[in-house]
Amino acid sequence: MTESFEPKITAFVCNWCTYAGADLTGTSRINYQSNVRVLRVPCTGRIDFMLLMKAFQKGSDGVIVSGCHPNDCHYTSGNYHARRRWMVYKDLMDFMGVDTNRVTFSWVSAAEGARWAQLVNEVTDNIRNLGPYAEYKALAVAGIE
Amino acid sequence: MSSGSHHPNLETLAGRIEAGTGVKLAHCYQCGKCAAGCPVGDEMDLPPCQVFRLLQLGFPDLDEKVLRSEGIWLCLACETCSSRCPQEVEIPKVMDFIRGEALKRGIAHPKSKDILSFHRAFLDSIEYTGRLYEVGLVADYKLRSRHMLKDVMLAPKMYIKGKLGLFPHLIKNRSGMKTLFKRTMGKG
């Protein structure tokens, strides 16, 4: 664990809540660490397992998935499906040997600008502590891609 | 992400009640339906809904007021209140629990003595014989409560009717019974 390690964090966020929340972080000028790269999707319901795996494959050290709070989904129940699926994903990742500490599922609403900054900072620090995700390479060699 | 798990705080009486009975005091919304139907509601210094109200606030002096009350000893466990409570609060369970708490703290209402004497006599009878020995129970209760005269008129009649066995029914495995009591009551 070297001090100079700068983790790569990929965030999948929904357009309506978390993306807007992150916009609000900006409008409120709340500073946070710049390691995160945001990918916008219409709804967390759109996020599937392969996207997460691809992110790790491409060298992400940590992944954030964030959408609307339960019951607030722009698409009524997309995040409900997402939530149910995440449970399965976690198990699946566990099974495949992926370190589930490296995936953070969260809700950030359009009004929670500060929450977004806090989330990104927490995850960044956490992953920085965990160190680079070198093990993934081993998994990849074992052929899970 | 908020988690649904919730741990009662055992420092407070409300928390201990929740841990011990599964009843959350906050579920009671003070409708009074329990008091309205309780067969002894008019005898109680604190009707069931008041017991809940005082406990809900979590003020130690109010908790103590409840523990010292007579009403909690009058509850017959008839379950009228709990079967009608709109919030499905299991009131008699809480009554049981707080009586235990009052005893532990030694602040049970003086009038509880008779009732307690009876229950103690009852359990003693089971502890030693395995079954309830009614004559023994009544005699024992009278000794403990000093209500010597009460019921003396009834006993001979019952005897004549063949309803009072003069000797206890002893179960075979009486040592097992002792163990059972030690392991449960022993914990106090």
């Binding site: - | 009732i115 004497s117 009614e134 309803k163």
Partner: protein
């Protein structure tokens, strides 16, 4: 039909006639009772007041003994007993983590598989047979008193309706009686205070007796020894409290059915009541 039998303490003493009449009636109907051997008291209305674990362990021992004897269904005629057995069984089923300690206390393995039934459930199954074998219809007006513990709490006992139950009404109809409409079928008689607070018993039971008479009942029929004690043994206190003399008898449902089936009143323990079982005009007719 074979069925396990847990009489409970009061059926050995103050409510012997409930035991006698239950055995007599069920035998007459071809039911074989296997008594749980070396059974202990269920703790009734006392154990839970003082110690929760004790109130689980006592019934658990009974259930464990029944299991050992291969009993799959136990009749507990006393409503308090069947209620306690059910409560303990359900609590242990919901909290299996408590079972180990209970097993240690009772010194036996516990599974909690035996089904617990009350007397009305068993009689209910035999209703057609009872109706067919009725030789002396019990042509009385009956106030059916179910008390608390037979139907409450509904989440535990899951039997009949919690208010205005019907099973006993249907049963007495089957033997020719007419149930009266009355509002106190499940009103508490004071049960547990039979010894300690006879004043409360007199007041609560007094209300029942008075109303039953007012609604024209010839007899109050019960299915619980505690109810019976309060309505029968405590009648003098009740009458004193009411300032009126009420001679309306209180009978066990099994005695009513026994009489209807033509069984010997003495075998049914009718003579053991404090309030004599006598009926105003129709008494003679039905005794014949």
């Amino acid at each position: 039909m074979r069925i396990g039998y847990y009489p409970g303490c009061s059926l050995l003493g103050s409510s012997r006639e409930f035991d006698e009449s239950t055995r007599a009636v069920l035998t007459a109907l071809g039911v074989e009772l296997t008594e749980v051997s070396d059974w202990n008291c269920c703790g009734a209305s006392s154990a839970h007041v003082l110690n929760h674990e004790l109130s689980l362990a006592l019934p658990a021992r009974i259930l464990a003994l029944a299991e050992q004897a291969g009993i799959t269904e136990i009749l507990a005629p006393c409503a308090a007993c069947s209620n306690r057995l059910l409560s303990a069984q359900q609590e242990l089923a919901a909290h299996p983590e408590k079972i180990a300690e209970i097993e240690a206390a009772i010194g036996m393995p516990y599974k909690g598989t035996a089904k617990i039934v009350n007397i009305l459930e068993v009689l209910g199954r035999l209703k057609d047979q009872i109706a067919a074998k009725t030789t002396k219809p019990f042509a009385k007006k009956v106030a059916n008193y179910y008390g608390c513990l037979l139907v409450r709490p509904p989440r535990v006992v899951n039997f009949d309706r919690p208010e205005d139950p019907q099973s006993m009404d249907l049963m007495v109809k089957a033997v020719g009686a007419t149930p009266v409409e009355w509002p106190f079928k499940t009103e508490c008689c004071g049960a547990a205070f039979s010894v300690t607070r006879t004043d409360i018993v007199a007041k609560l039971s007094g209300k029942l007796v008075k109303d039953a008479v007012k609604r024209g009942a010839d007899v109050i029929v019960v299915a619980c020894p505690m109810c019976h004690s309060n309505l029968d043994l405590r009648r003098s206190e009740i009458n004193e409290y009411l300032g009126e003399q009420h001679g309306i008898p209180a009978m066990f449902i099994t005695q009513v059915i026994g009489l209807a089936l033509g069984l010997d009143p003495v075998a049914l323990g009718i003579q053991r009541h404090m309030v004599p079982v006598e009926f105003k005009e129709t008494a003679a007719a039905s005794a014949q």
